[in-house]
């Protein structure tokens, strides 16, 4: 991996209306790595994702995309470089999987919206990668929560951006599909050199899949580093308010921190 930085946040503050959520955040992403963002509900994880893709303007500080101020890009220009999967996306009733995934080509197509050979290829490979080839003509509202989530991931993949920001991609998924999505993300990093940021609530997944874990609490980064260094019993107590124990995954040899209760009993 080289030292190229697809996204860098420098002293970024952002919020909604009067309320400030992020408070002078610094964060730089290394190309081809998986970063997990973890933190309690309402700590500002989704807000970090929004700031990274200019879905929310910053109050102060700068966001650099490929080394340039993100404010110098057009909206579609950003969308060609960064795909975002929001936490709770929605589509109109009756929209089919293929129709949704084709929307991923929006930032690339011209006035008449022709997909072209490249676009068709991107859509097909996104559908194949997410295992949705048998579902293409099904309306999204007639799919299970997990199938639907994979369709949204396929949309983000079809966009063809080299940076992928996923806000809780494993919610709604059963345990097997959680692993499938995470394996898919890991393979995108290794085979395509994609840079991935995922908001995760499952700290075991974070420990197993992320190169780096960023812990956000009250709009600030309180810990940042390799999973085994960050996810400690102490951090679990102070940030999440739970008691935890350290285990080692016998398969990967990675250490992980397992919450075992509120610690009040």
């Amino acid at each position: 991996m080289n030292d190229f930085e697809p996204i860098r946040l420098a002293q970024v503050s952002a919020g909604y209306g009067q309320r400030m959520v992020l408070d002078g955040l610094d964060l730089e992403l290394k190309q081809g790595t998986i970063t997990a963002i973890v933190g309690p509900n309402g700590s500002g994880k989704s807000t970090v994702i929004r700031a990274m893709a200019r879905l929310l303007p910053t109050r102060s500080g700068v966001v650099l995309l490929d080394g340039q101020d993100i404010r110098s890009f057009g909206s579609r220009g950003i969308a060609r470089l960064v795909s975002v999967l929001p936490q709770s996306p929605s589509s109109p009733p009756g929209l089919t999987v293929r129709e949704l995934v084709e929307l991923g080509r929006f930032p690339h197509t011209g006035l008449f919206g022709r997909l072209g050979a490249e676009g068709t290829l991107a859509v097909e490979s996104a559908l194949t990668l997410t295992g949705l080839s048998d579902f293409v003509e099904r309306p999204l509202d007639e799919l299970s929560g997990g199938e639907r989530q994979r369709a949204w991931i396929a949309l983000a993949l079809a966009q063809g951006a080299s940076t992928l920001l996923l806000d809780e991609p494993t919610t709604f998924l059963d345990v097997r599909h959680q692993f499938e999505v995470l394996d898919l993300v890991a393979s995108l990093c290794t085979s395509r050199g994609m840079t991935v940021v995922m908001v995760l609530h499952d700290l075991v997944h974070a420990a197993n899949y992320a190169d780096r874990v960023v812990v956000v609490d009250s709009g600030r980064i309180v810990a940042d580093g390799a999973p085994s260094a960050v996810l400690t019993v102490e951090l679990m107590r102070t940030v999440f308010g739970v008691a935890a124990k350290i285990f080692t995954n016998p398969e990967s040899g990675r250490m992980f921190c397992l919450p075992i209760g509120t610690g009040r009993s």
């Binding site: 975002v84 709770s88 996306p89 589509s91 929209l95 129709e99 929006f106 919206g113």
Partner: protein, 341 residues
């Protein structure tokens, strides 16, 4: 929803229906002209000068307006349903109908029911319609942001205000009442080439632009965050789509009056057939709008009535808006029962 092939088949069917209705429409009137003679006259190959005059001069403008107005209302409704995120949205909800009618009533009351000078009334309606649309847009935008729900609520309120102003003016000057009735309900009776020229520019700009808006419309149908993440500036896109819906509806209202139901029925039928993808829904809604309006106007023409005025020797065609309300409303209810589960 439906496969690509059955969608293509249904679209073809609707297009054929539109052509057949168009030719029947040209044949129907005080004298019936069979389709073969209509086609000859249309192609300027007819040897009968009466056929030529009747088809090309007297009936063609009305049939063309039927096509254009149906198309414009269907497309306008489909665009609005996207902008407002609501399947009950229809062109009247832009404020164009109430705006156009208020302008007409003011104009007629101002001229004390004398026959309006020249053919100024459609222009007055057009200006009022555009003003109504702009009023709704401005009243609903807060700090430059357009929110679908707030847009609907504002539109309903503005329509109520403009409607009661119209009622007040009509009560104070009852002379205006008679002439305004056909605008209130919408009619194509007695339309001439001048009316076609009035509607044509709006159709020529609005229809292609509206169809090209399908890509943006598709992105707008997602949640706001997904839409923005795909690189669509949401607020400008909403304003543009609403503006197109206003232009299309205003152009239609200026020549036909406030025809109801077409702009509600056509997009809902299109969605029931084609699913949610705007690349299919928009053109299909336009096409279904044409078919509905031509069919309803055909019925309106054949169900002429004798007005209850003793001296009147004429029979007057029903206004197409009345036919649509009577036959269209039940049709719409059936459609909604079948398509929304």
């Amino acid at each position: 929803m439906t496969s690509a092939r059955s969608f293509a088949a249904l679209t073809l069917l609707a297009a054929i229906a539109a052509v057949v209705l168009f030719i029947l429409h040209l044949g129907l009137g005080t004298v019936w002209i069979p389709p073969d003679r209509v086609i000859l006259a249309l192609l300027d190959r007819s040897t009968d000068p009466t056929d030529l005059t009747i088809v090309r001069e007297l009936r063609l403008p009305r049939a063309i307006l039927g096509l254009l107005v149906g198309c414009m209302l269907g497309l306008s409704g489909a665009l609005l349903q996207v902008v407002m995120r609501n399947r009950l949205a229809e062109p009247g909800l832009t404020g164009v109908s109430t705006g156009g009618i208020l302008a007409a009533v003011l104009f007629l009351a101002g001229t004390w029911g004398l026959p309006p000078p020249g053919r100024l009334l459609p222009f007055v309606v057009l200006l009022g319609a555009l003003a109504g649309g702009i009023l709704v847009l401005f009243a609903s935008s807060a700090r430059g942001r357009i929110d679908p729900l707030r847009l609907i609520l504002t539109a309903v309120i503005v329509n109520a205000i403009l409607g009661s102003l119209t009622a007040i003016v009509m009560l104070r000057s009852q002379q205006a009442l008679g002439s305004i009735l056909s605008w209130l309900i919408g009619s194509l009776n007695g339309r001439v080439w001048d009316d076609v020229w009035l509607a044509l520019p709006w159709a020529a700009v609005g229809i292609p632009a509206g169809l090209l808006a399908a890509r943006a419309a598709n992105v707008l149908q997602l949640d706001d965050e997904s839409g923005r993440a795909l690189g669509l500036p949401l607020q400008p896109a909403r304003v543009a789509l609403f503006g197109l819906a206003v232009v299309l509806a205003a152009g239609a209202v200026s020549v036909s009056g406030a025809i109801a139901f077409v702009g509600l029925m056509a997009p809902n039928a299109a969605r029931a057939i084609a699913g949610a993808d705007a690349r299919r829904v928009l053109p299909l809604a336009a096409l279904i709008g044409c078919v509905l309006l031509l069919a309803a106007d055909l019925v309106a023409q054949s169900l002429s009535i004798k007005p209850p005025i003793p001296s009147s020797a004429y029979r007057v065609g029903l206004p197409v808006g009345a036919v649509l309300a009577v036959f269209g409303a039940p049709l719409l209810i059936i459609l909604l029962r079948r398509s929304i589960r």
